[in-house]
Protein backbone atom coordinates (compact mmCIF):
# COMPACT_ATOMS: atom_id res chain seq x y z
CA UNK A 1 0.00 0.00 0.00
CA UNK A 2 1.40 3.42 -0.82
CA UNK A 3 2.11 5.35 2.35
CA UNK A 4 -0.35 8.08 3.14
CA UNK A 5 0.85 11.36 1.81
CA UNK A 6 -0.25 14.85 1.09
CA UNK A 7 -0.02 14.33 -2.63
CA UNK A 8 -3.03 15.29 -4.66
CA UNK A 9 -5.84 12.85 -5.10
CA UNK A 10 -5.01 11.90 -8.66
CA UNK A 11 -1.51 10.89 -7.70
CA UNK A 12 -2.74 8.89 -4.73
CA UNK A 13 -5.29 7.17 -6.92
CA UNK A 14 -2.61 6.36 -9.46
CA UNK A 15 -0.38 4.82 -6.82
CA UNK A 16 -3.26 2.75 -5.52
CA UNK A 17 -4.02 1.55 -9.02
CA UNK A 18 -0.39 0.62 -9.61
CA UNK A 19 -0.33 -1.23 -6.32
CA UNK A 20 -3.52 -3.06 -7.18
CA UNK A 21 -2.08 -4.08 -10.54
CA UNK A 22 0.93 -5.60 -8.86
CA UNK A 23 -1.16 -7.52 -6.30
CA UNK A 24 -3.62 -9.82 -8.01
CA UNK A 25 -5.06 -10.88 -4.63
CA UNK A 26 -5.72 -7.28 -3.68
CA UNK A 27 -7.17 -6.63 -7.12
CA UNK A 28 -9.59 -9.54 -6.86
CA UNK A 29 -10.51 -8.59 -3.30
CA UNK A 30 -10.98 -4.95 -4.17
CA UNK A 31 -13.03 -5.81 -7.22
CA UNK A 32 -15.32 -8.11 -5.22
CA UNK A 33 -15.88 -5.54 -2.49
CA UNK A 34 -16.42 -2.74 -4.99
CA UNK A 35 -18.88 -4.83 -6.98
CA UNK A 36 -20.94 -5.63 -3.89
CA UNK A 37 -20.71 -2.07 -2.63
CA UNK A 38 -22.05 -0.82 -5.95
CA UNK A 39 -24.78 -3.44 -5.80
CA UNK A 40 -25.63 -2.34 -2.26
CA UNK A 41 -25.81 1.32 -3.29
CA UNK A 42 -27.67 0.98 -6.56
CA UNK A 43 -29.24 -2.44 -6.04
CA UNK A 44 -32.74 -1.16 -5.31
CA UNK A 45 -32.71 0.46 -8.74
CA UNK A 46 -31.80 -2.86 -10.28
CA UNK A 47 -34.21 -5.23 -8.54
CA UNK A 48 -36.40 -6.64 -11.26
CA UNK A 49 -39.33 -7.32 -8.90
CA UNK A 50 -40.57 -6.02 -5.59
CA UNK A 51 -39.55 -7.98 -2.55
CA UNK A 52 -43.17 -8.11 -1.36
CA UNK A 53 -44.39 -9.06 -4.78
CA UNK A 54 -45.54 -12.63 -5.34
CA UNK A 55 -44.76 -13.43 -8.93
CA UNK A 56 -45.16 -17.17 -9.11
CA UNK A 57 -45.52 -20.45 -7.26
CA UNK A 58 -43.85 -21.33 -3.99
CA UNK A 59 -40.23 -22.29 -4.65
CA UNK A 60 -40.69 -21.76 -8.36
CA UNK A 61 -37.66 -23.09 -10.19
CA UNK A 62 -35.22 -20.77 -11.98
CA UNK A 63 -36.45 -19.59 -15.34
CA UNK A 64 -35.39 -16.89 -17.81
CA UNK A 65 -37.69 -14.41 -16.08
CA UNK A 66 -36.44 -15.42 -12.64
CA UNK A 67 -32.87 -16.62 -13.01
CA UNK A 68 -32.60 -17.50 -9.32
CA UNK A 69 -36.10 -18.88 -8.97
CA UNK A 70 -38.66 -17.94 -6.34
CA UNK A 71 -38.70 -18.19 -2.57
CA UNK A 72 -41.14 -19.83 -0.18
CA UNK A 73 -43.76 -17.18 -0.81
CA UNK A 74 -43.23 -16.89 -4.55
CA UNK A 75 -41.04 -13.78 -4.45
CA UNK A 76 -38.23 -13.39 -6.97
CA UNK A 77 -35.00 -14.60 -5.32
CA UNK A 78 -32.75 -12.36 -7.41
CA UNK A 79 -34.62 -9.29 -6.17
CA UNK A 80 -34.36 -10.54 -2.58
CA UNK A 81 -30.68 -11.23 -3.00
CA UNK A 82 -30.02 -7.74 -4.32
CA UNK A 83 -32.12 -6.22 -1.54
CA UNK A 84 -30.20 -8.33 0.99
CA UNK A 85 -26.89 -7.00 -0.29
CA UNK A 86 -27.61 -3.58 1.12
CA UNK A 87 -28.25 -4.70 4.69
CA UNK A 88 -25.47 -7.26 4.77
CA UNK A 89 -22.92 -4.82 3.39
CA UNK A 90 -24.18 -2.01 5.60
CA UNK A 91 -23.91 -4.12 8.73
CA UNK A 92 -20.55 -5.50 7.62
CA UNK A 93 -18.96 -2.13 6.94
CA UNK A 94 -20.60 -0.18 9.74
CA UNK A 95 -19.78 -2.79 12.38
CA UNK A 96 -16.19 -3.07 11.26
CA UNK A 97 -15.77 0.69 11.26
CA UNK A 98 -17.29 1.11 14.70
CA UNK A 99 -15.16 -1.73 16.02
CA UNK A 100 -11.98 -0.30 14.54
CA UNK A 101 -12.77 3.14 15.91
CA UNK A 102 -13.37 1.72 19.37
CA UNK A 103 -10.45 -0.68 19.14
CA UNK A 104 -8.18 2.01 17.76
CA UNK A 105 -9.15 4.41 20.52
CA UNK A 106 -8.65 1.82 23.24
CA UNK A 107 -5.39 0.65 21.69
CA UNK A 108 -3.95 4.15 21.31
CA UNK A 109 -5.06 5.15 24.80
CA UNK A 110 -3.68 2.01 26.43
CA UNK A 111 -0.44 2.12 24.49
CA UNK A 112 0.17 5.84 24.78
CA UNK A 113 -1.00 6.53 28.33
CA UNK A 114 0.33 3.28 29.77
CA UNK A 115 0.32 2.61 33.51
CA UNK A 116 -2.87 1.57 35.26
CA UNK A 117 -5.02 2.81 32.36
CA UNK A 118 -3.21 0.34 30.13
CA UNK A 119 -3.58 -2.47 32.67
CA UNK A 120 -7.29 -1.83 33.20
CA UNK A 121 -8.05 -1.52 29.50
CA UNK A 122 -6.10 -4.66 28.69
CA UNK A 123 -7.85 -6.71 31.40
CA UNK A 124 -11.19 -5.62 29.95
CA UNK A 125 -9.91 -6.54 26.51
CA UNK A 126 -8.81 -9.92 27.85
CA UNK A 127 -12.28 -10.56 29.18
CA UNK A 128 -13.87 -9.73 25.85
CA UNK A 129 -11.39 -12.02 24.15
CA UNK A 130 -12.11 -15.03 26.33
CA UNK A 131 -15.85 -14.55 26.54
CA UNK A 132 -17.71 -16.72 24.02
CA UNK A 133 -18.48 -14.15 21.34
CA UNK A 134 -21.48 -15.62 19.59
CA UNK A 135 -23.30 -16.62 22.80
CA UNK A 136 -22.81 -13.13 24.22
CA UNK A 137 -24.10 -11.61 21.01
CA UNK A 138 -27.12 -13.89 21.23
CA UNK A 139 -27.81 -12.81 24.79
CA UNK A 140 -27.55 -9.13 23.96
CA UNK A 141 -29.48 -9.50 20.73
CA UNK A 142 -32.27 -11.38 22.50
CA UNK A 143 -32.62 -8.83 25.24
CA UNK A 144 -32.36 -5.95 22.82
CA UNK A 145 -35.06 -5.68 20.19
CA UNK A 146 -33.66 -6.58 16.80
CA UNK A 147 -32.77 -3.74 14.47
CA UNK A 148 -29.99 -2.97 12.04
CA UNK A 149 -28.41 -0.41 14.38
CA UNK A 150 -28.46 -2.85 17.28
CA UNK A 151 -26.97 -5.52 15.08
CA UNK A 152 -24.09 -3.20 14.16
CA UNK A 153 -23.44 -2.31 17.80
CA UNK A 154 -23.65 -5.89 19.01
CA UNK A 155 -21.15 -7.08 16.44
CA UNK A 156 -18.84 -4.13 17.09
CA UNK A 157 -19.06 -4.87 20.82
CA UNK A 158 -17.08 -8.04 20.30
CA UNK A 159 -15.01 -7.14 17.30
CA UNK A 160 -12.90 -4.32 18.68
CA UNK A 161 -10.61 -6.38 20.90
CA UNK A 162 -8.16 -7.65 18.31
CA UNK A 163 -7.79 -4.14 16.87
CA UNK A 164 -7.15 -2.77 20.35
CA UNK A 165 -4.37 -5.26 21.00
CA UNK A 166 -2.77 -4.79 17.62
CA UNK A 167 -2.84 -1.01 17.79
CA UNK A 168 -1.58 -0.97 21.36
CA UNK A 169 1.45 -3.03 20.41
CA UNK A 170 2.15 -0.74 17.48
CA UNK A 171 1.75 2.39 19.60
CA UNK A 172 4.09 1.00 22.25
CA UNK A 173 6.74 0.60 19.58
CA UNK A 174 6.04 4.00 18.02
CA UNK A 175 6.17 5.74 21.37
CA UNK A 176 9.85 4.94 21.71
CA UNK A 177 10.74 6.30 18.30
CA UNK A 178 13.16 9.19 18.10
CA UNK A 179 10.70 11.58 16.47
CA UNK A 180 8.12 10.98 19.20
CA UNK A 181 10.66 11.33 21.98
CA UNK A 182 11.98 14.49 20.40
CA UNK A 183 8.46 15.90 20.09
CA UNK A 184 7.88 15.15 23.74
CA UNK A 185 11.17 16.69 24.72
CA UNK A 186 10.28 19.99 23.04
CA UNK A 187 7.04 19.97 24.97
CA UNK A 188 4.51 19.07 22.29
CA UNK A 189 1.02 18.36 23.68
CA UNK A 190 -0.23 14.79 23.91
CA UNK A 191 -2.97 15.38 21.39
CA UNK A 192 -0.46 16.79 18.96
CA UNK A 193 1.95 13.90 19.43
CA UNK A 194 -0.77 11.33 19.00
CA UNK A 195 -2.31 13.00 15.97
CA UNK A 196 0.90 14.03 14.23
CA UNK A 197 3.35 11.32 15.13
CA UNK A 198 1.40 8.23 16.02
CA UNK A 199 -1.88 8.13 14.15
CA UNK A 200 -0.31 8.62 10.68
CA UNK A 201 1.82 5.57 11.26
CA UNK A 202 -1.04 3.31 12.27
CA UNK A 203 -3.39 4.37 9.49
CA UNK A 204 -2.24 1.55 7.26
CA UNK A 205 -2.80 -0.98 10.02
CA UNK A 206 -6.22 0.53 10.79
CA UNK A 207 -7.29 0.35 7.16
CA UNK A 208 -6.16 -3.27 6.94
CA UNK A 209 -7.95 -4.15 10.17
CA UNK A 210 -11.13 -2.45 9.01
CA UNK A 211 -11.15 -4.31 5.74
CA UNK A 212 -10.45 -7.60 7.51
CA UNK A 213 -13.10 -6.90 10.13
CA UNK A 214 -15.71 -6.58 7.39
CA UNK A 215 -15.44 -10.30 6.77
CA UNK A 216 -15.96 -11.13 10.43
CA UNK A 217 -18.87 -8.70 10.71
CA UNK A 218 -20.57 -10.14 7.65
CA UNK A 219 -20.11 -13.58 9.19
CA UNK A 220 -21.67 -12.52 12.46
CA UNK A 221 -24.56 -10.79 10.70
CA UNK A 222 -25.27 -14.02 8.90
CA UNK A 223 -24.96 -16.00 12.12
CA UNK A 224 -27.29 -13.79 14.18
CA UNK A 225 -29.81 -13.58 11.37
CA UNK A 226 -29.66 -17.32 10.96
CA UNK A 227 -30.54 -17.69 14.64
CA UNK A 228 -33.55 -15.46 14.06
CA UNK A 229 -32.08 -12.42 15.74
CA UNK A 230 -32.01 -10.18 12.69
CA UNK A 231 -34.33 -7.30 11.97
CA UNK A 232 -37.48 -9.00 10.65
CA UNK A 233 -38.47 -5.95 8.63
CA UNK A 234 -35.36 -6.15 6.48
CA UNK A 235 -33.88 -8.66 4.11
CA UNK A 236 -30.27 -9.71 4.50
CA UNK A 237 -28.29 -12.64 3.17
CA UNK A 238 -28.20 -14.24 6.59
CA UNK A 239 -31.95 -13.96 6.87
CA UNK A 240 -32.46 -15.47 3.43
CA UNK A 241 -30.49 -18.51 4.57
CA UNK A 242 -32.54 -18.67 7.76
CA UNK A 243 -35.82 -18.46 5.86
CA UNK A 244 -34.73 -21.16 3.45
CA UNK A 245 -33.66 -23.36 6.37
CA UNK A 246 -36.91 -22.88 8.26
CA UNK A 247 -39.20 -23.20 5.27
CA UNK A 248 -38.09 -26.59 3.99
CA UNK A 249 -36.12 -25.31 1.02
CA UNK A 250 -33.91 -28.38 1.17
CA UNK A 251 -36.63 -30.99 1.07
CA UNK A 252 -38.39 -28.95 -1.58
CA UNK A 253 -35.18 -29.21 -3.58
CA UNK A 254 -35.05 -25.42 -3.82
CA UNK A 255 -31.27 -25.12 -3.92
CA UNK A 256 -31.71 -21.72 -5.53
CA UNK A 257 -33.09 -20.35 -2.29
CA UNK A 258 -30.04 -21.44 -0.29
CA UNK A 259 -26.97 -21.33 -2.50
CA UNK A 260 -26.97 -17.69 -3.73
CA UNK A 261 -27.05 -15.89 -0.37
CA UNK A 262 -24.30 -18.12 1.06
CA UNK A 263 -22.24 -17.61 -2.04
CA UNK A 264 -22.60 -13.84 -1.73
CA UNK A 265 -21.43 -13.98 1.89
CA UNK A 266 -18.50 -16.16 0.88
CA UNK A 267 -17.52 -13.76 -1.90
CA UNK A 268 -17.63 -10.69 0.34
CA UNK A 269 -15.68 -12.48 3.07
CA UNK A 270 -13.18 -13.66 0.48
CA UNK A 271 -12.89 -10.17 -0.98
CA UNK A 272 -12.29 -8.49 2.33
CA UNK A 273 -9.82 -11.18 3.44
CA UNK A 274 -7.80 -10.90 0.24
CA UNK A 275 -7.76 -7.12 0.21
CA UNK A 276 -7.18 -6.80 3.96
CA UNK A 277 -4.31 -9.26 3.97
CA UNK A 278 -2.73 -7.55 0.98
CA UNK A 279 -2.95 -4.14 2.69
CA UNK A 280 -1.53 -5.66 5.85
CA UNK A 281 1.41 -7.05 3.92
CA UNK A 282 1.96 -3.75 2.17
CA UNK A 283 1.87 -1.85 5.46
CA UNK A 284 4.23 -4.31 7.04
CA UNK A 285 6.21 -5.86 4.22
CA UNK A 286 8.05 -9.11 4.69
CA UNK A 287 10.71 -10.38 2.35
CA UNK A 288 8.72 -13.43 1.40
CA UNK A 289 11.65 -15.59 0.47
CA UNK A 290 11.78 -19.33 0.89
CA UNK A 291 15.11 -21.03 1.29
CA UNK A 292 13.63 -24.40 0.60
CA UNK A 293 11.24 -25.14 -2.17
CA UNK A 294 10.18 -28.03 -4.28
CA UNK A 295 11.63 -26.13 -7.19
CA UNK A 296 15.23 -25.26 -7.73
CA UNK A 297 17.09 -22.76 -9.84
CA UNK A 298 17.33 -23.46 -13.53
CA UNK A 299 20.37 -24.13 -15.63
CA UNK A 300 20.43 -22.47 -18.99
CA UNK A 301 22.88 -22.03 -21.81
CA UNK A 302 24.67 -18.72 -21.93
CA UNK A 303 22.79 -16.51 -24.35
CA UNK A 304 25.03 -14.92 -26.92
CA UNK A 305 23.70 -11.47 -26.23
CA UNK A 306 24.84 -11.54 -22.64
CA UNK A 307 28.37 -12.53 -23.55
CA UNK A 308 30.15 -9.28 -23.38
Amino acid sequence: MPPPSSLNAAKVARRWLTWLRQNPAALIGGALLTAFAVLALFGPLLTPFGIDQRVGPVYGAPSPAHPLGLDDSGVDMLSLLIAGTRISMLVGFAASMVSVLVGGFVGVTAGYVGGWVDTALMRITDYFIVIPALPLMIVVATVWAPSVVHMVLIIALLLWTSTARLIRAQVLALKERVSVRRARAIGAGHARIVLRHIVPDIVGLLVATTVLAVSVAVFFEAALSFLGLGDPATVSWGRLIQIAFERTAISSGAWWAIIPPGLCIALVVLGSSLLGTAIQHAANPKAGIAHVSSRTFRIRPVPEASRD
Binding site: Q22, I289, A290, H291, S293, R295, T296, F297, R298, I299, R300, P301, V302, A305, S306, R307, D308
Partner: protein, 327 residues
Protein backbone atom coordinates in the same frame (compact mmCIF):
# COMPACT_ATOMS: atom_id res chain seq x y z
CA UNK B 1 49.46 -24.83 -4.01
CA UNK B 2 48.99 -26.92 -7.11
CA UNK B 3 47.57 -24.95 -9.94
CA UNK B 4 46.75 -28.08 -11.86
CA UNK B 5 44.02 -29.45 -9.55
CA UNK B 6 41.89 -26.70 -8.06
CA UNK B 7 39.54 -27.72 -5.23
CA UNK B 8 36.89 -25.35 -6.44
CA UNK B 9 36.69 -23.95 -9.89
CA UNK B 10 34.02 -21.89 -11.55
CA UNK B 11 34.11 -20.61 -15.04
CA UNK B 12 31.93 -18.20 -16.95
CA UNK B 13 29.26 -18.17 -14.22
CA UNK B 14 26.17 -16.23 -15.13
CA UNK B 15 23.24 -15.86 -12.79
CA UNK B 16 19.92 -14.20 -13.48
CA UNK B 17 17.04 -13.54 -11.13
CA UNK B 18 13.47 -13.37 -12.39
CA UNK B 19 11.82 -10.15 -11.36
CA UNK B 20 8.13 -9.97 -10.40
CA UNK B 21 7.42 -7.64 -13.31
CA UNK B 22 8.64 -10.26 -15.77
CA UNK B 23 12.12 -8.89 -16.33
CA UNK B 24 15.35 -10.33 -15.05
CA UNK B 25 18.33 -9.16 -13.12
CA UNK B 26 21.69 -10.28 -14.43
CA UNK B 27 23.50 -10.68 -11.14
CA UNK B 28 26.65 -12.52 -12.17
CA UNK B 29 28.07 -11.82 -15.56
CA UNK B 30 30.68 -14.34 -16.54
CA UNK B 31 32.60 -14.83 -13.33
CA UNK B 32 35.62 -17.12 -13.19
CA UNK B 33 37.08 -18.40 -9.94
CA UNK B 34 39.71 -20.92 -8.90
CA UNK B 35 40.62 -21.99 -5.44
CA UNK B 36 43.54 -24.33 -5.01
CA UNK B 37 44.28 -26.32 -1.94
CA UNK B 38 45.15 -24.20 1.11
CA UNK B 39 44.65 -21.12 -0.98
CA UNK B 40 42.93 -18.13 0.58
CA UNK B 41 40.87 -16.14 -1.86
CA UNK B 42 39.37 -12.83 -0.91
CA UNK B 43 36.36 -11.46 -2.78
CA UNK B 44 35.69 -7.77 -2.29
CA UNK B 45 33.30 -5.23 -3.68
CA UNK B 46 30.45 -2.90 -2.78
CA UNK B 47 27.11 -4.19 -1.59
CA UNK B 48 25.12 -5.62 -4.47
CA UNK B 49 28.13 -6.36 -6.62
CA UNK B 50 27.25 -10.04 -6.63
CA UNK B 51 29.76 -11.40 -4.15
CA UNK B 52 27.18 -13.04 -1.91
CA UNK B 53 25.32 -14.34 -4.97
CA UNK B 54 28.58 -15.87 -6.13
CA UNK B 55 28.97 -17.65 -2.82
CA UNK B 56 25.40 -18.96 -2.90
CA UNK B 57 25.92 -20.12 -6.47
CA UNK B 58 29.03 -22.01 -5.46
CA UNK B 59 26.98 -23.85 -2.79
CA UNK B 60 24.08 -24.40 -5.19
CA UNK B 61 21.76 -22.47 -2.88
CA UNK B 62 20.22 -20.11 -5.40
CA UNK B 63 16.45 -19.59 -5.05
CA UNK B 64 14.00 -21.03 -7.60
CA UNK B 65 13.66 -17.60 -9.19
CA UNK B 66 17.28 -17.81 -10.31
CA UNK B 67 18.82 -19.36 -13.36
CA UNK B 68 22.45 -19.98 -13.92
CA UNK B 69 24.86 -20.97 -16.65
CA UNK B 70 28.51 -21.83 -16.78
CA UNK B 71 30.42 -24.42 -14.85
CA UNK B 72 31.26 -25.16 -11.24
CA UNK B 73 33.67 -27.97 -10.40
CA UNK B 74 34.26 -29.18 -6.90
CA UNK B 75 37.32 -31.42 -6.61
CA UNK B 76 37.25 -31.70 -10.36
CA UNK B 77 33.60 -32.83 -10.55
CA UNK B 78 31.10 -30.73 -12.44
CA UNK B 79 28.18 -29.89 -10.15
CA UNK B 80 26.27 -26.97 -11.64
CA UNK B 81 24.65 -28.98 -14.40
CA UNK B 82 23.99 -31.82 -11.98
CA UNK B 83 21.69 -29.59 -9.95
CA UNK B 84 20.70 -30.02 -6.32
CA UNK B 85 21.67 -33.67 -6.15
CA UNK B 86 25.18 -33.05 -7.45
CA UNK B 87 25.72 -30.17 -5.05
CA UNK B 88 24.43 -32.12 -2.09
CA UNK B 89 27.18 -34.73 -2.41
CA UNK B 90 29.77 -32.08 -1.76
CA UNK B 91 28.02 -29.76 0.65
CA UNK B 92 29.70 -29.63 4.04
CA UNK B 93 31.97 -32.63 3.27
CA UNK B 94 34.03 -30.78 0.68
CA UNK B 95 32.80 -27.27 0.95
CA UNK B 96 31.29 -25.68 4.04
CA UNK B 97 30.14 -22.19 4.78
CA UNK B 98 30.04 -19.68 7.61
CA UNK B 99 27.22 -17.21 7.05
CA UNK B 100 27.03 -13.54 7.92
CA UNK B 101 27.11 -12.75 11.59
CA UNK B 102 23.87 -10.81 11.23
CA UNK B 103 21.98 -13.87 10.07
CA UNK B 104 20.10 -16.29 12.31
CA UNK B 105 22.07 -19.16 10.95
CA UNK B 106 21.37 -21.36 13.96
CA UNK B 107 18.07 -23.10 14.60
CA UNK B 108 16.48 -21.41 17.64
CA UNK B 109 14.72 -24.50 18.97
CA UNK B 110 17.53 -27.01 18.57
CA UNK B 111 20.41 -27.32 21.00
CA UNK B 112 23.78 -26.27 19.63
CA UNK B 113 25.19 -29.73 20.21
CA UNK B 114 22.46 -31.34 18.18
CA UNK B 115 23.03 -28.93 15.33
CA UNK B 116 26.63 -30.08 15.19
CA UNK B 117 26.04 -33.79 15.69
CA UNK B 118 23.23 -33.97 13.15
CA UNK B 119 25.60 -32.96 10.40
CA UNK B 120 28.17 -35.50 11.61
CA UNK B 121 25.52 -38.19 11.42
CA UNK B 122 24.24 -37.02 8.07
CA UNK B 123 27.66 -37.35 6.48
CA UNK B 124 28.52 -40.55 8.35
CA UNK B 125 31.44 -38.92 10.15
CA UNK B 126 30.39 -40.12 13.57
CA UNK B 127 27.27 -41.16 15.43
CA UNK B 128 26.09 -41.36 19.02
CA UNK B 129 28.71 -40.72 21.72
CA UNK B 130 31.45 -40.45 19.12
CA UNK B 131 29.58 -37.60 17.48
CA UNK B 132 29.14 -35.91 20.82
CA UNK B 133 32.84 -36.26 21.57
CA UNK B 134 33.66 -34.81 18.19
CA UNK B 135 31.28 -31.92 18.81
CA UNK B 136 33.05 -31.22 22.10
CA UNK B 137 36.39 -31.22 20.31
CA UNK B 138 35.03 -28.86 17.69
CA UNK B 139 33.77 -26.26 20.12
CA UNK B 140 37.00 -26.48 22.06
CA UNK B 141 38.82 -25.94 18.80
CA UNK B 142 37.00 -22.65 18.23
CA UNK B 143 37.64 -21.62 21.82
CA UNK B 144 34.27 -22.28 23.39
CA UNK B 145 33.54 -24.22 26.61
CA UNK B 146 31.84 -27.53 25.89
CA UNK B 147 28.75 -26.76 27.96
CA UNK B 148 27.84 -24.54 25.03
CA UNK B 149 26.57 -27.70 23.38
CA UNK B 150 23.60 -27.78 25.69
CA UNK B 151 22.60 -24.21 24.94
CA UNK B 152 20.28 -22.61 22.46
CA UNK B 153 21.01 -19.92 19.95
CA UNK B 154 19.33 -17.15 21.93
CA UNK B 155 21.61 -17.79 24.90
CA UNK B 156 24.72 -16.97 22.89
CA UNK B 157 26.43 -13.71 22.07
CA UNK B 158 27.12 -12.75 18.47
CA UNK B 159 30.73 -13.77 18.68
CA UNK B 160 29.83 -17.12 20.21
CA UNK B 161 27.33 -17.74 17.44
CA UNK B 162 29.96 -17.18 14.79
CA UNK B 163 32.35 -19.49 16.59
CA UNK B 164 29.63 -22.13 16.75
CA UNK B 165 28.99 -21.61 13.04
CA UNK B 166 32.67 -22.08 12.42
CA UNK B 167 32.81 -25.22 14.57
CA UNK B 168 29.82 -26.55 12.67
CA UNK B 169 31.44 -25.73 9.33
CA UNK B 170 34.56 -27.60 10.30
CA UNK B 171 32.65 -30.66 11.52
CA UNK B 172 33.11 -32.77 8.41
CA UNK B 173 36.64 -31.57 7.70
CA UNK B 174 35.87 -29.81 4.45
CA UNK B 175 38.63 -28.79 2.11
CA UNK B 176 37.15 -25.44 1.27
CA UNK B 177 35.60 -23.05 3.72
CA UNK B 178 33.40 -20.26 2.41
CA UNK B 179 32.90 -17.32 4.71
CA UNK B 180 30.34 -14.69 3.84
CA UNK B 181 31.20 -11.51 5.71
CA UNK B 182 31.58 -13.56 8.88
CA UNK B 183 32.09 -10.56 11.10
CA UNK B 184 29.37 -8.13 10.08
CA UNK B 185 27.24 -7.07 13.04
CA UNK B 186 29.99 -7.94 15.48
CA UNK B 187 31.83 -5.26 17.35
CA UNK B 188 35.44 -4.63 16.46
CA UNK B 189 37.03 -6.62 19.28
CA UNK B 190 34.84 -9.67 18.79
CA UNK B 191 35.21 -9.47 15.02
CA UNK B 192 38.96 -9.51 15.37
CA UNK B 193 38.79 -12.51 17.69
CA UNK B 194 36.53 -14.46 15.32
CA UNK B 195 38.76 -13.64 12.35
CA UNK B 196 41.74 -14.68 14.38
CA UNK B 197 40.15 -18.06 14.97
CA UNK B 198 39.29 -18.47 11.28
CA UNK B 199 42.77 -17.51 10.28
CA UNK B 200 44.38 -19.83 12.78
CA UNK B 201 42.19 -22.80 11.95
CA UNK B 202 42.49 -22.52 8.18
CA UNK B 203 46.23 -22.66 8.69
CA UNK B 204 46.18 -25.43 11.26
CA UNK B 205 43.69 -27.54 9.31
CA UNK B 206 45.11 -26.85 5.86
CA UNK B 207 41.86 -25.36 4.61
CA UNK B 208 41.25 -23.40 1.50
CA UNK B 209 39.26 -20.27 2.26
CA UNK B 210 36.99 -18.07 0.21
CA UNK B 211 36.41 -14.94 2.23
CA UNK B 212 33.71 -12.62 1.01
CA UNK B 213 33.98 -9.21 2.60
CA UNK B 214 34.23 -5.53 2.00
CA UNK B 215 36.96 -5.27 4.58
CA UNK B 216 39.90 -4.51 2.29
CA UNK B 217 42.64 -4.35 4.92
CA UNK B 218 41.47 -7.74 6.15
CA UNK B 219 41.78 -9.43 2.78
CA UNK B 220 45.10 -7.89 2.04
CA UNK B 221 46.27 -9.17 5.38
CA UNK B 222 44.91 -12.69 5.25
CA UNK B 223 44.40 -13.72 1.64
CA UNK B 224 46.74 -15.06 -0.98
CA UNK B 225 44.70 -13.70 -3.82
CA UNK B 226 42.02 -11.09 -4.21
CA UNK B 227 39.18 -10.77 -6.72
CA UNK B 228 37.52 -7.37 -6.91
CA UNK B 229 33.92 -7.51 -8.13
CA UNK B 230 31.84 -4.80 -9.66
CA UNK B 231 28.33 -5.10 -11.09
CA UNK B 232 28.41 -8.88 -11.26
CA UNK B 233 31.84 -9.09 -12.84
CA UNK B 234 35.36 -9.65 -11.64
CA UNK B 235 37.11 -6.41 -12.53
CA UNK B 236 40.52 -7.14 -11.09
CA UNK B 237 42.33 -10.14 -9.71
CA UNK B 238 45.78 -10.62 -8.31
CA UNK B 239 47.84 -10.96 -5.16
CA UNK B 240 47.20 -8.44 -2.38
CA UNK B 241 50.33 -6.66 -3.43
CA UNK B 242 49.20 -6.55 -7.07
CA UNK B 243 45.81 -5.29 -6.22
CA UNK B 244 46.76 -2.88 -3.48
CA UNK B 245 50.00 -1.43 -4.73
CA UNK B 246 49.71 -1.93 -8.47
CA UNK B 247 45.99 -1.75 -9.06
CA UNK B 248 45.12 -1.49 -12.72
CA UNK B 249 41.37 -0.86 -12.44
CA UNK B 250 40.17 2.59 -11.46
CA UNK B 251 37.45 1.03 -9.31
CA UNK B 252 39.99 -0.89 -7.24
CA UNK B 253 41.97 2.24 -6.72
CA UNK B 254 38.92 4.20 -5.60
CA UNK B 255 37.94 1.34 -3.34
CA UNK B 256 41.26 1.38 -1.53
CA UNK B 257 41.24 5.14 -1.40
CA UNK B 258 37.80 5.12 0.20
CA UNK B 259 38.88 2.53 2.72
CA UNK B 260 41.83 4.61 3.68
CA UNK B 261 39.46 7.54 4.28
CA UNK B 262 37.14 5.64 6.47
CA UNK B 263 39.84 3.84 8.49
CA UNK B 264 37.44 1.10 9.20
CA UNK B 265 36.58 -1.88 7.13
CA UNK B 266 33.23 -2.31 8.81
CA UNK B 267 31.51 0.72 7.41
CA UNK B 268 29.91 0.48 4.02
CA UNK B 269 31.87 2.07 1.26
CA UNK B 270 30.06 5.23 0.51
CA UNK B 271 32.70 7.58 -0.58
CA UNK B 272 32.81 6.60 -4.24
CA UNK B 273 30.58 9.08 -6.01
CA UNK B 274 27.59 7.66 -7.86
CA UNK B 275 26.10 4.21 -7.61
CA UNK B 276 26.52 0.89 -9.44
CA UNK B 277 24.43 0.37 -12.60
CA UNK B 278 21.07 -1.30 -12.53
CA UNK B 279 21.47 -4.90 -13.50
CA UNK B 280 17.88 -5.39 -14.61
CA UNK B 281 18.75 -3.64 -17.85
CA UNK B 282 21.42 -4.72 -20.29
CA UNK B 283 24.77 -3.07 -19.62
CA UNK B 284 26.53 -1.85 -22.71
CA UNK B 285 30.13 -0.84 -22.59
CA UNK B 286 31.99 -0.64 -19.31
CA UNK B 287 29.72 -0.94 -16.30
CA UNK B 288 31.89 1.39 -14.27
CA UNK B 289 31.79 4.08 -16.91
CA UNK B 290 29.43 6.54 -15.22
CA UNK B 291 31.61 6.72 -12.13
CA UNK B 292 34.96 6.36 -13.79
CA UNK B 293 37.37 9.28 -13.65
CA UNK B 294 39.20 7.94 -16.72
CA UNK B 295 36.15 7.41 -18.92
CA UNK B 296 36.73 7.75 -22.65
CA UNK B 297 34.42 7.73 -25.63
CA UNK B 298 35.29 4.10 -26.54
CA UNK B 299 34.36 2.83 -23.04
CA UNK B 300 30.71 3.41 -23.91
CA UNK B 301 30.47 0.85 -26.66
CA UNK B 302 32.81 -1.96 -25.82
CA UNK B 303 32.79 -3.96 -22.62
CA UNK B 304 36.33 -4.43 -21.36
CA UNK B 305 37.76 -7.95 -21.05
CA UNK B 306 40.06 -9.09 -18.26
CA UNK B 307 43.51 -8.12 -19.47
CA UNK B 308 46.51 -9.93 -18.11
CA UNK B 309 48.96 -7.32 -16.86
CA UNK B 310 51.36 -9.63 -15.08
CA UNK B 311 51.47 -13.26 -14.02
CA UNK B 312 48.31 -13.81 -11.96
CA UNK B 313 47.29 -10.17 -12.18
CA UNK B 314 44.52 -9.09 -14.52
CA UNK B 315 42.08 -6.17 -14.73
CA UNK B 316 38.99 -5.53 -16.80
CA UNK B 317 39.86 -2.07 -18.01
CA UNK B 318 40.83 -1.12 -21.51
CA UNK B 319 43.62 0.96 -20.05
CA UNK B 320 45.03 -1.86 -17.92
CA UNK B 321 48.77 -2.06 -18.36
CA UNK B 322 48.85 1.41 -19.93
CA UNK B 323 50.04 4.22 -17.80
CA UNK B 324 47.03 6.45 -18.01
CA UNK B 325 46.64 9.03 -15.33
CA UNK B 326 43.41 9.50 -13.49
CA UNK B 327 42.07 12.91 -14.23
Amino acid sequence: MTESSPLLEASDLNVWFDLPDGGELHALRGVDLRVGSREKLGIVGESGCGKSTLLMTLMGLLPPSASASGSIRISGQEVLTGGERAFRIHRWKDIAVVFQGAMNALNPVMRIGRQITEVLELHDVATGPAAEARARDLVTLVGLPDDILRRYNHELSGGMRQRVSLAMALACEPQVLLADEPTTALDVMVAAQVLGVIDRLTRELDLALVLVTHDLPLVTRTCDRIQVMYAGKVVETGTPADVYHRSEHPYTRLLFAATADVHSGREELVSIAGSPPRLDEPVTGCAFLPRCPMAREECMTEAPQLLQVASGHAAACRFAGQKVRMS
